[in-house]
């Protein structure tokens, strides 16, 4: 186990302070983290080098999180990727859209750090 390569997480989120906190936490939990703040750039990065887990915020400049998810699921390289959507609490439609479009999990803001790390760890182990 000790020699196993570190798992990779791609975080697509345009709020710099959330990116900073989640990058720190995922690093502490033993993941390598790649971050993207733009939707199209995130999609390109995922398809170019598929990570173990993708965290997609719903509201991103360029392509929104739902559109990225749809395009990933429509592409052979993205069909089995583990994807977590970050949605806002109370936005029921967002959660339904996330699940319909093939998200593995959704986490609502405001989240606890333990929720995010727990979810990423669980999905990374499945993959």
């Amino acid at each position: 186990m000790a020699d196993a390569p570190r798992k990779r997480v791609l975080l697509a989120e345009d709020e710099p302070n959330i990116v900073e906190s989640l990058t720190f936490l995922l690093g502490k939990a033993g993941f390598d983290v790649v971050t993207e703040v733009d939707g199209q750039a995130a999609l390109d990065a995922v398809l170019a080098a598929p990570p173990d887990v993708v965290i997609l915020d719903v509201m991103l400049p360029g392509l929104d999180g739902f559109e990225i998810l749809r395009r990933l699921r429509a592409d052979a390289r993205g069909q089995s990727l583990k994807v977590i959507m970050l949605t806002a609490k109370g936005q029921r439609e967002d959660r339904e859209t996330a699940l319909q479009n093939g998200a593995d999990l959704f986490i609502t803001k405001p989240f606890s750090n333990a929720d995010v790390i727990g979810a990423v760890t669980r999905l990374a182990e499945q993959g």
Partner: protein, 464 residues
């Protein structure tokens, strides 16, 4: 209200106030013998004399001439025919008796029904806003994102005591920045809800302007008086030039009278409402200059209130003629007119109410109204004889007009003007329908119409 009842009403009120007939006559400024004839229902009463009699008896004009009672009767009638009350067995025929025996209860019922309608409309508008308002959705998302950032950084500070000073500073800075941004989002949200709460009486500037015209029965005596005598300063005959000249003259000479009305009234409160009301009143003033009431009134009567003949006689457009007709003084044997203007999308963009004609404030009217059919035959005046679910009969006269040349290949824009009058009033006009003219069964609007089997229904009536 018939002449007979009016005289009796004056006598009863005078006695209740403990006035002699001679004293009342003196206060009104007529001879005691003439007052005697009025009270014995041998002479009619209208115009300025009716007004000064109402003043002398400390009654509102509509209380004296029975208009208030008529409105109350119409309102109760509408309540009795409300679809959701259908199962309650409301005795629609007893409305008159209720008003006679328990006027306070009748007024309370009418006031409650009115406030219920307003509240339902406001609730629907607010529900629409809360569900679909992009600002609200986006703001809530921003707020939750800020909270997520604060919470995540705060948890890191609590859960990782081994952080070095530089890392601790970074997460403290995040909490500081994000909590400041969060308070800005909170303020924006509070300001939004303040705005939602504010218009508790009327919802749009258009509503405010309508309330002002309603409160004055579509007539502004101050403007009429100020315009009288200025008309001869419009010294050109070309219709387009006359209109421009009237607008200039109104702005220069009648602006003060208009501003004085706006300063004194209580219906228009918001700045956009005031700007819109000023525009409407300046339009009224320009029309008063183009067709002063002292000449327009008699001419209108002589021409049977024919909108096209009047447009020709005064070199006016039909729209202005319609507006002048709604401003005719309230006198016996002078018909009362309501006016509606709709755009091609069917939205009513201007409205001058008519007592007893129930028209929706927040929705399109009944699609059967000729207001919505006239655009099929632009420029033609079309008459429609209608009956409402309450049994009230009206005559509608509508004409669609092209608003100007738009150029080859571009769609033309049409607006429809519609005059409304009660069927008894229509008999004073060229639009009097013969007995054989078919009567169209219409309603106010689907939402408040009890005609359940109507094939033109587009939405269900409001039922509990």
């Amino acid at each position: 209200m018939s002449k007979a009842i009016l005289g009796t009403r004056i006598r009863e009120r005078r006695r209740a106030l403990g006035l002699t007939q001679a004293e009342l006559a003196r206060r009104v400024g007529i001879s005691a013998s003439y007052m005697n004839l009025i009270e014995r229902n041998r002479r009619g009463l209208a115009g300025a004399l009716l007004r000064s009699t109402a003043d002398a008896l400390a009654l509102r004009l509509d209380e004296l001439d029975g208009a208030a009672e008529r409105r109350l009767l119409e309102s109760l009638d509408e309540i009795a025919h409300t679809p959701e009350l259908g199962a309650l067995g409301v005795e629609a025929d007893s409305a008159g008796e209720l008003i006679g025996r328990y006027p306070g209860w009748a007024r309370a019922l009418s006031a409650l029904a009115h406030s219920e309608r307003e509240a339902t409309a406001a609730a629907r508008a607010l529900a629409d806003r809360l569900t679909h308002d992009p600002f609200l959705g986006e703001t809530v998302h921003r707020m939750l994102t800020r909270i997520a950032a604060v919470r995540s950084a705060a948890e890191i500070l609590a859960d990782f005591p081994e952080l070095d000073a530089g890392q601790r500073d970074r997460f403290h800075r995040i909490i500081h920045e994000e909590s400041r941004a969060l308070s800005e989002v909170g303020e924006a949200l509070a300001a939004y809800f303040d705005k939602v709460d504010a218009p508790d009486r009327t919802l749009t500037p258009l509503d405010e302007v309508e309330a002002l015209f309603d409160a004055r029965a579509n007539r502004f005596a101050e403007i009429e008086a100020a315009a009288s005598g200025l008309a001869d300063r419009i010294d050109t005959a070309a219709p387009g030039a006359r209109r421009g000249r009237a607008q200039e003259l109104a702005e220069r000479e009648l602006g003060l009278a208009v501003d004085a009305i706006l300063d004194r009234q209580g219906e228009v409160e918001t700045a956009p409402g005031r700007a819109r009301a000023r525009k409407a009143l300046m339009g009224y003033a320009a029309a008063a200059l183009l067709a002063p009431m002292e000449t327009f009134g008699p001419r209108a009567a002589a021409l049977g209130y024919d909108i096209e003949a009047l447009a020709e006689a005064f070199a006016l457009d039909v729209e202005t003629v319609c507006q002048r007709l709604t401003a005719l003084p309230e006198e016996q044997n002078v018909p009362r007119f309501g006016y509606f203007r709709a755009n091609a999308a069917g939205t009513i963009i201007e409205r001058r109410g008519l007592s007893g004609l129930v028209a929706p404030r927040y929705a399109s009217a009944c699609p059967l109204w000729v207001l919505y059919c006239a655009q099929q035959s632009p420029e033609a005046v079309i008459r429609q004889r209608v009956v409402f679910p309450s049994g009230a009969r009206f005559v509608f006269v509508a004409r669609a007009r092209n608003t100007g040349l738009t150029g080859f290949g571009r769609p033309r824009h049409y607006l429809t003007d519609m005059l409304a009058m009660s069927e008894p009033d229509a008999r004073l006009t060229v639009y009097a329908p013969d007995a054989g003219v078919p009567v169209e069964a219409v309603g106010p609007a689907c939402r408040i119409c009890p005609r359940r089997s109507c094939t033109h229904r587009v939405e269900d009536p409001l039922t509990g």
